[in-house]
Assembly symmetry: C2
Homo-oligomer: 371 residues x 2
Amino acid sequence: MRLEFKLKYKDPNTMARIGEIAYNGKTYETPMFMPVGTNATVKTLSPEELKMIGSGIVLANTYHLWLRPGEDIVAAAGGLHKFMNYDGPILTDSGGFQVFSLAKPNDITEEGVKFKNHLNGDALLLTPEKSIEIQQKLGSDIMMSFDECVKWPSTYDYMASSVERTLRWARRGKDVKKDNDQLLFGIVQGGEYPDLRKHCAEELVKMDFDGYSIGGTSVGENKPTMYKMVEYSTPYLPEDKLRYLMGVGDPIDLIENSMRGVDIFDCVSPTRLARHGHAYTKYGKINIKNNKYKTDFTPVDECDCYTCKNYTKAYIRHLIVANETFGARLLSIHNIYFLHKLMKQIRENIKSGTMKEFRDQFVRDYYGNKE
Amino acid sequence: MRLEFKLKYKDPNTMARIGEIAYNGKTYETPMFMPVGTNATVKTLSPEELKMIGSGIVLANTYHLWLRPGEDIVAAAGGLHKFMNYDGPILTDSGGFQVFSLAKPNDITEEGVKFKNHLNGDALLLTPEKSIEIQQKLGSDIMMSFDECVKWPSTYDYMASSVERTLRWARRGKDVKKDNDQLLFGIVQGGEYPDLRKHCAEELVKMDFDGYSIGGTSVGENKPTMYKMVEYSTPYLPEDKLRYLMGVGDPIDLIENSMRGVDIFDCVSPTRLARHGHAYTKYGKINIKNNKYKTDFTPVDECDCYTCKNYTKAYIRHLIVANETFGARLLSIHNIYFLHKLMKQIRENIKSGTMKEFRDQFVRDYYGNKE
């Protein structure tokens, strides 16, 4: 089945929007956070738990599934949904991000990117066509174009020529895509250069993708630059298509970029933080391994998730310290729920026209914490 | 609340029995298998999952909880049930098994056992009194006496004097036990010497414990010796009290020892095997990492557990190979369910007087597998 997106409401005060995704008999409102299931599993969690905490789209990584178990095995299983027992929408990335992080400069050519398989050292080549072929076998609902992932900062000249390559690669991927129910997104690159972002967005829109991603925005702790990159991109994207900001999941970034017109976000943070014993709370992140939680028999946060309704900081601390995976599972449930709840608050405040007040109050609470 | 045991039925053909445990408004039939939650968590599983797969009593390890988080923290949390969010019955061991495995010969005295904390190297002493004190703070429903865990084989003379020490230690523990709802079990030792087993059982029964354990039976793959040790013990134990065979969980051992009058069993096997990718099936254990399961899109076993209803061998293999904890979780669910289902079949065959036929058929199926 095909995932459908409808724009429902535009905030008159900001660029924020409310949308609705319809898929497999269910609807999901945007802006939305998508948990990451790299290996066709959101680490430590079951599909039922994802539903319980309110997840909609989940992400799976093309690079990892290509290498293991292999896209042909996933296809033989009947596709990712059947393989991992998840009947909600699934998005796959292009594999580009991992491949560029493994490649040396000479390995990047017009054809694609050469790199060494991190599991066994085999020499492999990923191209725009190959990425689409793999994603089609995986059977995700939303596929990504293979783009050039450029390091930040890059010179204007390098970025200008890289954008042209990203556009050529987007076209090559689109040309081989089958006429099926899978959506294909183009990826807006261009670094922090407004005219390159505009050009890239406009050229992608001419190619008429099913949705648009904004890439290259993970510039460390440099939030103002990230926000600018989004501002330079969203105005040139069509209103009736989904907009996806890749790899962004810090709470304040979810708020700020929703206000800039982004619909969907993904990030490994909630599950990765959980495995290291970190939890989001209204008053900022806490480290559950801190000694002061040894005898703290209160929940992680003022929260109505499964974890906070049933377990104390002292118990979760004990599990994390003793390396018991149930601890990571409890914190993963809480952390993903925290981001889903935040997105719900964002949607409510978009609807009531109070996003700026909401942001200011959230920042005061969240960053006031001085643990 | 206090756990109550009632004998319901005796098999006229074997020594097997059907009993009923009443606890916190629920009843559980015996013989029963108890999953192990060493650190106040059955590895990878939630309390809700344990209930879903039919677990009754779960075991927690006194040694581990004493060292981390410490019995005072568990007591401050309101006891193990509240700490780990499990409202079914909980059994704790004495800590002796771990302590004896860490101690050198000179560290074992009449007072107790000196050993080094495996987490930080601190010198510690565990005594019969201390073991009861810790278990009382943990707040389990069934406590174990601190006994001497003797290596197998041991000479008759050594075992004879060890049994006397185990009896003196059992008495010392019983003397300091508070008059509360916690049950305290005595532990029958005596190796493979019939007269020592008889003597130990009879002396413990004179002290009137709330139930009786059979210890020292983990003699590797030497199953005939284990079965003899049980046969030398159960005839001297009162019919109206629970009988617990410690650390035994191999499917055939559950059958054979149920036929020798044992009511409850525990073992880390189902969860430990799961973490290593092994699964019980009707036709023997399989190793899910085997290459032949790469494209096996059938369930682990003919089984109606959550895992077998929803996931294929190929997916679970992928998770285990990729080190994803959801794989260990899925196999833990299946493996524990497998043992619970086996115990149910044992109870049905005790009731219908067909234990021997059931055993013979089970062995043919289970050990016929030549993977």
